[in-house]
């Protein structure tokens, strides 16, 4: 399910000349490549002066790791559980209000349950009951096979997800909404009440809530259980690419739904939703951890360096350079920081050295001290 877009921006521009340059210069290119990460590594690991430069401030750098006090840790954990619950509520709302009434199957256990509840004629096996059975079964399976790796967070999310959907269905929220507004809700060909008469609009909400909610849960290091447990089991015992495996399961569910509902419209919506969800999930996860890569070309590096170290509390890499037009001696500072910090740094640099040249780009993936490990 994870179609990672490594570098959204740089992806669309390896035009022929660059590619050829890489091709013809293979050993060099590879090496240049490997020298690049080294630099950025340095930027985030330690305050190291590249070249002959000595950094004026040689305080021990504990700043990068930002050691958390127990209180901060507790707040962080509490926040994680809140975000996780919010994510699950969004996912449940997506399933109950937008997916089920329109028979959209966006994959996962919810999709399978929508399908099965339409196939099985027994009244008792409603969507939420089927979902509960599958989810609990998968959880037990996960606990047996995966043991500790099937974490408390996943158990919590999976159960909360099931309970909320069951509650919504049990209390018949849509029915109440229907009777509380004067004109009543429109109902579709399957005899279900839908919030609007616009399936496309409902599809967008289904994807948005499901994608954003899923990303929130994922970012807290949890999962909503269900097919993710199957993926983990597959990962443990086979060498299969679990992303592909999950996508195949979801595709099978959607394909079966074509025959069950006998409606091309629903099938097309489901296919669209499946892919849109994957992209949205990835881009939300990517943008949560997004950081800025800042290059500052300046003649007054000392003050700026001080500010980066003491106020923003990040490391940096510095090297000598020469202005192309003026042939003036300059310093280049490279650092990586969060978006808010980048804004502060930008303002400060302008104040300290109005002649400085600052380039800010998005950095999508960073390895090194003080960064990474968003999962």
């Amino acid at each position: 399910m994870k179609i990672r877009k490594k570098n959204k921006q740089t992806d669309n521009q390896p035009d022929p000349p660059v590619k050829e340059a890489i091709g013809q210069n293979a050993p060099d290119a590879a090496v240049n490549d490997s020298s690049q990460p080294e630099k950025t590594d340095v930027a985030t690991t330690d305050v190291v002066a590249a070249g002959s430069e000595t950094v004026t401030d040689t305080k021990p750098v504990i700043l990068n790791d930002k050691v958390l006090t127990p209180k901060q840790k507790r707040i962080r954990t509490a926040l994680q559980w809140i975000f996780m619950s919010a994510g699950i509520i969004m996912m449940s709302a997506s399933v109950y209000f937008f997916q089920t009434p329109n028979n959209f199957t966006l994959g996962g256990v919810a999709g399978i349950a929508i399908l099965l509840s339409n196939v099985i004629p027994i009244e008792f096996f409603s969507q939420s009951v089927i979902m509960a059975i599958i989810n609990v079964f998968l959880l037990i399976l996960g606990l047996i096979i995966l043991g500790k790796r099937c974490t408390l967070k996943t158990i919590y999310c999976s159960l909360l997800y099931t309970v909320i959907i069951w509650l919504l269905e049990f209390t018949d929220v849509l029915g109440h909404i229907n009777s509380s507004i004067s004109n009543g809700l429109p109902s579709n060909e399957f005899g279900m009440y839908t919030l609007t008469d616009q399936p496309f609009l409902e599809m967008i909400y289904a994807i948005l809530l499901f994608g954003v909610g899923g990303a929130l849960v994922f970012n807290c290091g949890a999962s909503s259980g269900g097919t993710d447990i199957i993926a983990l089991i597959l990962k443990k015992y086979t060498k299969m690419n679990t992303g592909v495996a999950l996508l195949i399961i979801d595709l099978i569910v959607v394909c079966v739904s074509i025959f069950t509902f006998q409606s091309v419209e629903i099938a097309l919506f489901s296919f669209m939703g499946l892919f849109a969800k994957s992209f949205l999930l990835d881009s939300v996860i990517e943008s949560i951890g997004k950081t800025k890569y800042i290059t500052i070309i300046t003649t007054k590096p000392d003050e700026i360096a001080h500010y980066i170290l003491d106020v923003i509390q990040h490391g940096y890499t510095i090297y000598d350079a020469e202005g192309g037009y003026t042939h003036e001696k300059k310093k280049v500072l490279i650092t990586i920081c969060k978006r808010g910090e980048a804004l502060k740094l930008k303002t400060k640099v302008k104040e300290l050295d109005s002649g400085a040249f600052v380039i800010i780009t998005d950095a999508n993936e960073i390895l090194g001290k003080g960064f990474g490990g968003t999962f």
Partner: protein, 289 residues
């Protein structure tokens, strides 16, 4: 003393007027007929117009004009010159254009495809807002309220505006119907992304890093043909150990293409990295602050 009007100034006002026209068209043809209240003064006027249906001389455009003019007057009282001539101009032209559009004798809404109307409403108003914003002007309305709040309190203006917009959009659930509510709420979020996207694209430049052994053949091109500066530093190739020069420069997208071609003919072995950059501070580029 006579001031000469430059070509750039004319272009600036043409672009600014285009922005207000897009905004007015989006609100008049698509937002108001479908009750898409995605926040702001236009959203507020759409909701208020629903309560004054019995009064023929008090439609959506009239309410909007009244609110905007009142806000402008308040703005001038509290902010003085800080309110800005451009804001007053945009605000008045915006509402004026809507009054003129009322004279066009067509049946609204234009289609019965509500989602299509929604897409056009969001595209037109977002593009218009982005253009006006990029001209460092504002269409008045809630922006004036924000400026006043900013001047007298320490409140976070962005959050305050977002909450107001959210309340306006959410109220459509109860005043109109669920469909309108869902669309208005979606529009509120879509607007934020669209405006940001358009503004980012307008200012987008390429940051070019060139690793080469023939710097002297590439640098004259950057300075003489492209009229850009660059920064260079010495480096060593990791595999060959050869002395190399790293050239760092920033230019517009079109220029980057030319530079790439030039590098390719001057030094086919050069290694070139291009990245998108949306914020640059320094000589020759737009100041984002």
């Amino acid at each position: 003393m006579k001031r000469k009007v430059t070509k750039n100034e004319v272009l600036y006002w043409v672009v600014l007027n285009l922005g207000t026209l897009l905004l007015a068209a989006g609100v008049y043809f698509f937002k108001a007929p479908n009750n898409f209240a995605t926040g702001g003064v236009s959203g507020l006027s759409i909701i208020l117009a629903n309560f004054t249906k019995g009064v023929p001389w008090l439609g959506q455009t009239e309410i909007m004009t009244i609110i905007n003019v009142v806000l402008l007057i308040i703005g001038f009282i509290f902010l003085g010159r800080g309110c800005g001539f451009k804001t007053a101009y945009c605000s008045l032209v915006y509402t004026g254009e809507m009054q003129l559009m009322k004279l066009i004798p067509i049946q609204l809404p234009l289609t019965d495809e509500i989602f299509l109307e929604f897409v056009f409403a969001m595209l037109l108003t977002s593009a218009g807002s982005a253009i006006i914003f990029n001209c460092r002007a504002s269409s008045g309305g809630t922006d004036i309220v924000a400026l006043i709040i900013k001047k007298y309190t320490k409140m976070d203006v962005g959050t305050a505006l977002l909450i107001t917009d959210f309340l306006i959009a959410a109220s459509t659930f109860f005043i109109f119907d669920i469909r309108t509510g869902l669309l208005s709420l979606l529009g509120l979020f879509a607007k934020a992304f669209l405006v940001d996207g358009v503004i980012e694209n307008i200012g987008k430049s390429k940051c070019v890093t060139i690793i080469t052994e023939k710097a002297e053949e590439i640098t004259p091109f950057i300075i003489e043909a492209m009229h850009r500066g660059y920064t260079s530093f010495k480096a060593t190739g990791g595999f060959t150990g050869a002395e190399k020069t790293v050239i760092l420069t920033v230019c517009k997208r079109g220029e980057a293409l030319k530079l790439k071609m030039r590098i390719h003919s001057a030094d086919p072995a050069a290694f070139v990295i291009l990245t998108d950059t949306n914020e640059i501070i320094g000589k020759g580029f737009r100041d984002t602050l």
